[in-house]
Symmetry: C2
Subunit: 130 residues, 2 copies
Amino acid sequence: MIVRDYNDIIKSDRNRVVSDAKWSSVRMLLAEDGMGFSFHITFLEAGSEHTFEYKNHFESVYCMQGSGSITDLATGETHLIRPGVMYALDQHDRHTLRAEEDLVMACVFNPPVTGSEVHREDGSYALETT
Amino acid sequence: MIVRDYNDIIKSDRNRVVSDAKWSSVRMLLAEDGMGFSFHITFLEAGSEHTFEYKNHFESVYCMQGSGSITDLATGETHLIRPGVMYALDQHDRHTLRAEEDLVMACVFNPPVTGSEVHREDGSYALETT
């Protein structure tokens, strides 16, 4: 059994925290944990906008706090984000996420993120092999 | 892209809500969604105790609200549960979860739950094929 506390990680295990422009993510579970998925608590700063396309991953995102919106760039459709809303990128959907207030999201990736990916210019992660 | 709102589901999509003795779970993503994992928001009633052993599944559980504890029945070790604590049953660990206050948890299963499983007497889910 693996037990990890978000509150401890942000104080003393900073190599599990990754940040980029106006977002940061706490890596609660990575590929090396052997669960077959990774699990992340991700923060997006109020007023920020992010375009991602996980060509090699499925991702689900559950909003725990905050408000904003997500636009599916294939269809142009926009959905409001508030606590309780989940979106799942089952088509590796290219999307723009906007934070109206600070957003706190619980994210799951399959295949699991290894921890060494970087967002490429097209908003994707490369598929890494461990 | 799949978008679902927990708040809508509990009002008007009750076939996504499953309940048993002193717990209930909202099935945000199931096997049929094709993500390779399932995602659930689970409630455990204050004062309740639950023993589970997912022999055929990996499960991670992230505490969003409430307090309690989890005991690893193989080692006897007990960990406190509070918001921000995650446990991951990477060894299919048999465990007892106790809710001191009402617990609200974000749960991920791999392989994904199909929705037709029931908890067996030993606290496990059978492995279902879709």
